[in-house]
Symmetry: C2
Subunit: 222 residues, 2 copies
DNA sequence: ACCTGAACACCGTTCAAGT
DNA sequence: ACCTGAACACCGTTCAAGT
């Protein structure tokens, strides 16, 4: 899809702005001010042009966001050295994707795309699928296993990001405290029991623990 | 938060519309036409009033959406009979939440709220946490385990829903086929190997398999 | 207390025309 | 081929006034 408009024999007006400039400026707005502030109009004025000029370089806003995701992935997903041990390799590859996404809060709105977030991520997908196969899973089960890992990873990112946004917006924290304060220990004993520790426990980053558990479970012959 | 405006001594003008009517009409629009079509203006004309009248019954659109989620959860989350066996109980409770959410595609935009999607879901959370504790986890690890399950579940819903939306919008399928057709078997052998089976494999519903694997992994002492 | 009208400050996108 | 101006069909929300 990131198909750089092939410069034919240039039988027309020379371009004043390029697709790269559009994406680059969009990236700046998005990293500096958040994805909400990225509008076609804003982008156009920032670039010194008109909204409609943009539509000559991207099909619409949706495509612009996907291009932005590809752009980020290509830059952020540097391939790490992977352990030889397949189970560890799976964990490290998934954690690398997770880390890149977690470092980039604006990505959430676009992220939730599909099983493959970007062609740049394919190498990581390969590592995970290969690790699962090496551990004895059939190719089919390995693909399903990869998807389970992706659900878990994307879910962690999305839930965490929107929770953070809500927290910034208004006092939802107060709401939660209220709910957990009013718990009936007769009906919901476990929750009542750990009600006062819920917030700090929830704040802890346990992505890796859950990932390891999931991978363990996927590899356990059942 | 769903605090029905307590009717005091009614020392003013009698209300023409109620919060219930606002939520009910919003629910109808959202289930019939999708969440995108729910606008404050649309809702107002549907209800035979003006946009600003709504702001007397809900703080803003964000709150309206949260109320809508609560409303749906209260209605859709009927408590099932749970197995006595704790591990099975965890799976059934999580699957019940998942089923309710999956049946309701509009929920995705709101869903990604926090660890507790709604007070109506607390009973299910209790069942999951309790099951994990009964299986030998400490309360702290049980909370973390519940969160891992929630990440996985929310991720499955979000990824699947947006994938479906994209598919409806345009021919992203074509894009994926193109990517998987161009794979270099030297660099990405596993993916090349199952490239032609990727689409059907991805279409299969393996939520329960992944859930069981995750729960197994969480329960395995490590 | 509850509702209305008019306005503010925006959106994404299309269409027809210009160079 | 690339860009512009003007317009279409909308948004959420605030403010001041009415009953």
């Amino acid at each position: 899809m990131p198909q750089p408009s092939a410069p034919r024999k240039s039988p027309g007006r020379p371009p004043r702005i390029s697709r790269e400039e559009v994406i680059g400026t969009a990236r700046r707005i998005v990293t500096e001010e958040g994805v909400d502030r990225l509008t076609m109009r804003r982008l156009a004025t920032e670039i010194g042009s008109t909204p409609m000029a943009l539509y000559h370089h991207v099909r619409n806003k949706e495509e612009l966001l996907v291009l932005l995701l590809d752009d980020y992935a290509a830059q952020a997903l540097r391939r790490p050295e992977l352990p030889a041990h397949p189970r560890r390799r799976i964990v490290v590859a998934a954690a690398a994707i997770h880390e890149a996404l977690a470092a980039c809060p604006w990505i959430v709105e676009v992220l939730t795309a599909d099983d493959l977030m970007s062609t740049s991520a394919l190498w990581f997908v390969e590592q995970i699928v290969d690790g699962l196969v090496e551990c004895g899973l059939s190719p089919e089960r390995a693909v399903h296993g990869y998807r389970a890992i992706w659900y878990y990873t994307a879910g962690e990112i999305v839930v965490r990001a929107t929770a953070a946004r809500r927290r910034a917006d208004d006092d939802r924290g107060t709401y939660r405290e209220q709910v957990f304060g009013d718990l009936d220990p007769g009906e919901l004993p476990r929750l009542a029991q750990i009600a006062d520790r819920w917030a700090p426990l929830t704040g802890e980053d346990t992505y890796l623990d859950g990932l390891r558990a999931l991978v363990d479970g996927l590899l356990a012959a059942r």
